[in-house]
C-alpha cells in the first residue's frame, strides 16, 4: 500500500526495484555467499568440527560468540567497506553514461523516486542477506546448544549499521562522480582523507616546528576515519574469573560498540539525505565527467593540487634534499618542490575535468592561486605563524606530565608532582626560547633527546620532542646543565622506576642476573628467590634515592666505563585493577646498572654474586678485541661439562642448559651465599 502510494507520486518504482534485483543478482549472490560463509558456515564448523572433541562445551560456546562478535567488528567492517561501494557502483552506474541517464530520467518517475528506488534496492538486499545469515546462524546455535542468541542480534545490528553507513557514504560519493571508476576513487580517498591530511601536515610541522612531536590522537580524526574507528570499536568483551577463564560477555562493551555503530548509521542516513539533495541538482548532461557537480569542481581541482603538494611534494623534497646533502631544512627548496608537484596535480585534475590536454590557457590563474597558497603555507610553518614552538603551558594548567630523557642512560616516567612539573616546564621554556640545534658533528659530540607530554586540566594534551647535541667535555649551555641535573635527579629516577615496575608491582616472585661470557655471548644466569629479589629491589631504591642512578646520563664516556653489560631482571606479579581481568598476570623488568649503584652491588655480593664477574661495556669490548682476558666462569663450566661438573656450593644451584647460542649456565641461590662461593673465580 505504502509503495503503491509512493509509486503513484513517482517517488518509488516497483518495476525498477525488481529490475535492479534481477540485473545485479551476481553481486547480491556474492554478498550472500560471503556472509553465509562468514557466519553460519564458520559457526557450523566451529561448533560441530574437530573442536568439539577436545574443547569444553563452555569454551566452545565462547569461541562461537567471539567469532560472531569478531564478524560484527573488524570482519563486518571490511565486508561493509568493500560491498558498500560495490553496491553503490552497481545501482547508480546509470548516472555515468549519457545513454542510460537519458533513459532513466525520461521515465515517468521523479528524481527522488529514482534515487529512493535505487538506494532502497541496496538497503533491501543487505537487510535480507543479514536476516538470512542471522536466522541460519541462530538455527545452528540452537542445535549446538548455544544460549546467547542475542549476540546474533548484536551482529545483525552492528553489521547492518556499518553497511548502511558505508553504502550511504559510497552513494554520496557516487552523486559527485560522472565516471564509474571515480566512485571508488572518491570513496577510498574520502575514507582516509582526514587522517591522511593530518599526517601530511604533521610531517610538514616536523620539518619546521622546533620540538614538534606529532599531532595528538584526536577523537575527531578517528571518527572521521570510519573504517579505522569501526574496525576497532570493541575492546575486551570477556568477563573472566580469578583464573582468567571466560565467564561471560561484558555487556557494557557491547552497548558502547553498538553506540558507535549507531552514530555511524545515523551519519549514513544523513549522507543518504545529502546524496538525494545533490542528486536533485545533478544535471543529466554531466554523465561522463569526472566530477558531475559544478560547485565541486574547484574543490576537486585545488584539493588534488594541495594533496599532491603535501604528499608527493614533501616526498620529492625529502629525496632531492637528502640526495644533495642538505642538513638544515630549506623552506625555499620545500616550497619549490611542493609548488612543482602541486601544479602537476592541479593541471592533472584540470585535464580530467576538461577532458583535454590544453588546459594552460584556462587554468593558469588557478595554478597561480595554488602556488601562492603553497608559498604562504610553507612560510607560515617556517616562521611558526601559529606560535606552536613558543607554546609552553602554565604550571597551573598541567594535570600530569609524561616525560622521557634519552641519553646514555634514559628515563621514562610520569608525574603529577607540581615541583617536578615546574622543573620540566622550566627546561621546556628554555628549550623553546634558546632552541639549541641538533648538529651531529664528530665523535666528540653527544646527543640527548627529551620527550614531554602534558595532560592539561582542560582535557587536552601537549607533546614536544627535542633532540639536541653538545660537546663531550660537558654540557655548557644552561638548558643542558638543567637537563643533566634532571636526568640524574632522584625523584625523576624514582618516577622512572615507578613507571617501569613499581606502579604495577603486586609482589616480586624472583630475580636473575646474567653473568655473560663476553667472547661469544654464551652466559650464565644466576637466579634469586622472592626474598632476595626484594632485598635487591630495596638496594636499588636506596641507590635511586641517593642519586646514584643516572649519574653518567650526560657523559657517555663515563657511562661506557661504568655501566655493566649484565642485566638484572625482576619478575613480579601485576597488581589487580578493575581493568585487568586476569589475576595471575606476571611481568618482568630488567635493569642496566653501573658501578655507581653501590647499594645494589653490595646486595648482589651478599646474594652470592661474584661482582668481579660483572663486565662493563668497556671491558666487554676489550675482551672482544683480545686486549683483556675473559672473565672465565664459563670456561670452568665448560670443563665441568666435559668431565664431572660439580655444583659449586650447596646453597646455589647451577645448570647448563642448551640453546641456539650454546649452553647457558643457570645458578640458583636458595640462600644468600658468600661471594667467594660463586661460580668461576
Amino acid at each position: 500500500m505504502q509503495s503503491k502510494t509512493l509509486s503513484s507520486k513517482g517517488l518509488f518504482s516497483p518495476a525498477l526495484f525488481r529490475n535492479n534485483l534481477s540485473r545485479f543478482w551476481p553481486l547480491w549472490m556474492l554478498y550472500l555467499a560471503v556472509w553465509l560463509l562468514a557466519m553460519p558456515a564458520v559457526q557450523f564448523l566451529q561448533l560441530f568440527g574437530h573442536n568439539r572433541h577436545w574443547m569444553e562445551e563452555g569454551e566452545l560456546c565462547f569461541d562461537a560468540l567471539g567469532g560472531v562478535l569478531a564478524m560484527s567488528e573488524s570482519g563486518g567492517t571490511i565486508i561493509a567497506l568493500i560491498f558498500g561501494v560495490l553496491f553503490a557502483m552497481a545501482l547508480f552506474s546509470y548516472l555515468v553514461s549519457a545513454r542510460s541517464v537519458s533513459y532513466a530520467h525520461a521515465l515517468p518517475v521523479k528524481r527522488e523516486g529514482l534515487f529512493l528506488t535505487h538506494y532502497l534496492t541496496g538497503v533491501g538486499v543487505f537487510l535480507m542477506v543479514h536476516a538470512l545469515a542471522a536466522v541460519l546462524t541462530a538455527a545452528i546455535w540452537a542445535v549446538a546448544g548455544v544460549q546467547q542468541v542475542w549476540i546474533i542480534g548484536v551482529w545483525f545490528l552492528s553489521t547492518t549499521g556499518q553497511m548502511l553507513f558505508f553504502y550511504s557514504f559510497a552513494v554520496f560519493c557516487a552523486m559527485f562522480a560522472g565516471q564509474l571508476l571515480a566512485i571508488p576513487a572518491f570513496y577510498g580517498i574520502f575514507n582516509v582523507l582526514v587522517l591522511g591530511v593530518r599526517e601530511l601536515i604533521s610531517m610538514l610541522c616536523e620539518m619546521f616546528i622546533y620540538g614538534w612531536n606529532g599531532m595528538n590522537e584526536s577523537a575527531a580524526v578517528t571518527w572521521l576515519t570510519p573504517a579505522y574507528k569501526l574496525a576497532s570499536q570493541l575492546g575486551d568483551i570477556w568477563a573472566r574469573d580469578a583464573q582468567g577463564y571466560r565467564t561471560g560477555i561484558v555487556s557494557e562493551e557491547i552497548q558502547r560498540s553498538l553506540g558507535v555503530v549507531s552514530v555511524y548509521a545515523l551519519a549514513g542516513v544523513v549522507l543518504a539525505v545529502c546524496a538525494l539533495l545533490v542528486y536533485q541538482r545533478r544535471r543529466s548532461e554531466t554523465a561522463g565527467d569526472v566530477v558531475a557537480i559544478g560547485w565541486a569542481r574547484p574543490i576537486f581541482r585545488y584539493g588534488v593540487g594541495a594533496c599532491c603538494a603535501l604528499s608527493f611534494g614533501q616526498l620529492m623534497y625529502a629525496i632531492l634534499w637528502s640526495s644533495f646533502g642538505g642538513s638544515e631544512n630549506s623552506v625555499v627548496a620545500l616550497a619549490v618542490c611542493m609548488i612543482l608537484v602541486g601544479l602537476v596535480g592541479y593541471f592533472g585534475a584540470e585535464m580530467l575535468l576538461q577532458k583535454s590536454f590544453r588546459i594552460l590557457k584556462k587554468g593558469w590563474k588557478g595554478g597561480v592561486i595554488l602556488s601562492a597558497a603553497l608559498i604562504v603555507l610553507c612560510i607560515g610553518f617556517s616562521v611558526d605563524l601559529l606560535g606552536i614552538e613558543k607554546r609552553v603551558p602554565a604550571a597551573a594548567d598541567v594535570e600530569t606530565l609524561d616525560f622521557g630523557i634519552y641519553s646514555a642512560s634514559s628515563v621514562n616516567g610520569s608525574t603529577a608532582d607540581p615541583e617536578m612539573i615546574q622543573r620540566f616546564l622550566s627546561i621546556h621554556q628554555s628549550l623553546a626560547d634558546q632552541q639549541p640545534k641538533y648538529n651531529w658533528q664528530d665523535e666528540d659530540t653527544e646527543s640527548i633527546t627529551v620527550r614531554l607530554r602534558y595532560m592539561l586540566k582542560n582535557g587536552k594534551t601537549l607533546s614536544r620532542y627535542y633532540s639536541l647535541t653538545y660537546q663531550k667535555q660537558g654540557p655548557n649551555e644552561e638548558v643542558l646543565t638543567q637537563l643533566a641535573l634532571l636526568a640524574s635527579d632522584a625523584a625523576v629516577r624514582r618516577a622512572d622506576l615507578e613507571n617501569q615496575m613499581l606502579n604495577r608491582l603486586d609482589r616480586l616472585t624472583s630475580a636473575e642476573i646474567q653473568l655473560y661470557q663476553t667472547a661469544d655471548m654464551r652466559g650464565q644466569t644466576m637466579s634469586f628467590d622472592a626474598d632476595t629479589a626484594q632485598t635487591l629491589l630495596d638496594a636499588l631504591e636506596a641507590d635511586i634515592d641517593a642519586g646514584h642512578a643516572g649519574m653518567d646520563a650526560m657523559d657517555s664516556a663515563r657511562w661506557y666505563e661504568n655501566t655493566y653489560t649484565n642485566r638484572l631482571t625482576f619478575y613480579y606479579r601485576v597488581k589487580t585493577t578493575p581493568d585487568s581481568h586476569r589475576r595471575d598476570e606476571s611481568d618482568s623488568f630488567y635493569l642496566e646498572f653501573s658501578k655507581n649503584y653501590t647499594n645494589l652491588i653490595a646486595a648482589l655480593e651478599a646474594a652470592g654474586v661474584d661482582t668481579d664477574m660483572l663486565v662493563t661495556y668497556q671491558e666487554n669490548d676489550a675482551i672482544s678485541d683480545g686486549s683483556m682476558p675473559a672473565k672465565s666462569a664459563y670456561e670452568s663450566a665448560q670443563e665441568g661439562i666435559g668431565g664431572a661438573y660439580e655444583t659449586p656450593d650447596s646453597g646455589t644451584s647451577v645448570a647448563i642448559i642448551g640453546g641456539a647460542d650454546g649452553p647457558t649456565q643457570v645458578i640458583v641461590a636458595d640462600e644468600p651465599v658468600p661471594a667467594d662461593t660463586a661460580v668461576g673465580g
Binding site: S100, P108, E285
Partner: protein, 298 residues
C-alpha cells in the same frame, strides 16, 4: 499541444538552445529539421524531462514536463541511440516499460508482435541495429503515448520496415490523436509524413509553419526570357538562380501567383511554377542563414 517559449540551454557556456520558441499543435506530426549541432536532440531531451532548460518554458498541455511523472507517463521517446539494459531481452524491457508506464497496453504489445519479426526472449544486444530500433518502436508504441518524440527514428531500418513504422505512427495519430515530434535529416521522408515543419539552426528556430504554408511561401520558377535578355533582372527578389541553356531556374520567397506577376513585366517566353521539396526549402532557407553547400576547390 507542445509549447516551448524562449528556451535556453547551455553546456559549459555554449548555448545549444538559444531562445527557442516552438509550438506543436495537438495531433500534428511535426518535423524538426536543422543542420548538425542545431540543437534538435537537446530540444527533444528537454521535452522528455531529461534536461532542465536554463531559462524559458517547456510545457505540454500547459504543464511543465520537468519532474512531472504524470505528464511524462503520456510521453514516450525514441532517441537516436536507444538504451536497453545490457543483458535484457525485449521481453525483459517490456516488463520494465509495463511497470513504469501506466498506459502500457499488453494487448497492443501482442498485436505488434506480428509487425516486428523479433524473438522477444533474445538479448537485445544480440540483435542488429535495425532490429534494436524495431524493438524500440515495439515497446514505445505499446506505451500508448499521447506524445511521441522521435530522434532519427527510422535510421537503420530497411525500406519495408520504415514504411511499417511510419504506418503505425500515422495510424496512432489518426486514431488516437497522438502528437508526434520527429527530428530527422531524411527530408524526403519527413515530407511524406509531416504536416508541420520547424527549422532549427544554432539553437534558434528559423521558421516553423505547416508544410503547405511553407511550400506556399517559396516557389521555384522555370523561366525563358525574350531574346537578348541573358541575365536575370537585378531587381527581381531571387534567393537562388541557375541557368541551363536558355532556361533560368529561380527560387523566390513568395507564392507562385505573385512571382508570376512580377516576371510578366519582362515578357518571358515561358514561366512555369514548380512546388519545392522540403529538402530544397531546407537548403535555400539555411542558405540565407549562411549555411549553404560551398564550392570547395580541391
Amino acid at each position: 499541444m507542445i509549447e516551448i517559449r524562449d528556451a535556453v540551454k547551455k553546456f559549459d557556456g555554449f548555448a545549444a538552445l538559444d531562445g527557442v520558441t516552438l509550438t506543436v499543435p495537438k495531433g500534428a506530426v511535426y518535423g524538426l529539421v536543422g543542420p548538425n549541432g542545431a540543437g534538435k536532440s537537446t530540444l527533444l531531451r528537454s521535452l522528455n524531462g531529461v534536461y532542465k532548460v536554463d531559462s524559458g518554458a517547456v510545457t505540454i498541455e500547459g504543464e511543465s514536463i520537468w519532474e512531472n511523472p504524470a505528464l511524462k507517463a503520456r510521453v514516450s521517446s525514441i532517441p537516436d541511440d536507444w538504451y536497453y539494459f545490457l543483458q535484457s531481452s525485449t521481453q525483459d524491457m517490456m516488463k520494465l516499460y509495463r511497470g513504469t508506464y501506466s498506459t502500457f497496453s499488453m494487448e497492443r504489445y501482442k498485436k505488434l508482435e506480428s509487425a516486428f519479426p523479433i524473438d522477444p526472449k533474445k538479448p537485445i544486444r544480440h540483435l542488429s541495429k535495425g532490429m534494436q530500433k524495431q524493438a524500440a518502436f515495439w515497446l514505445t508504441m505499446s506505451c500508448m503515448p499521447d506524445y511521441l518524440l522521435l530522434d532519427e527514428p527510422v535510421d537503420g531500418l530497411d525500406p519495408v520496415m520504415r514504411r511499417q513504422v511510419w504506418s503505425l505512427v500515422l495510424d496512432d495519430v489518426a486514431e488516437r490523436g497522438t502528437t508526434v515530434l520527429v527530428s530527422s535529416h531524411n527530408l524526403r521522408e519527413l515530407e511524406d509524413v509531416c504536416d508541420h515543419v520547424g527549422i532549427l539552426d544554432h539553437g534558434k528556430v528559423l521558421l516553423e509553419r505547416s508544410l503547405a504554408q511553407l511550400q506556399d511561401n517559396m516557389v521555384k520558377l522555370q523561366v525563358v526570357f525574350p531574346d537578348g535578355m541573358t541575365e536575370v533582372p537585378a531587381d527581381l527578389p531571387v534567393l537562388h538562380a541557375a541557368k541551363m541553356g536558355r532556361i533560368h531556374t529561380l527560387i523566390m520567397r513568395m507564392n507562385a501567383e505573385k512571382a508570376t506577376e512580377l516576371l510578366t513585366r519582362y515578357h518571358p517566353l515561358l514561366v512555369d511554377a514548380v512546388p519545392l521539396t522540403l529538402e530544397e526549402i531546407f537548403i535555400y532557407e539555411l542558405g540565407g542563414a549562411d549555411y549553404a553547400v560551398k564550392d570547395i576547390v580541391l
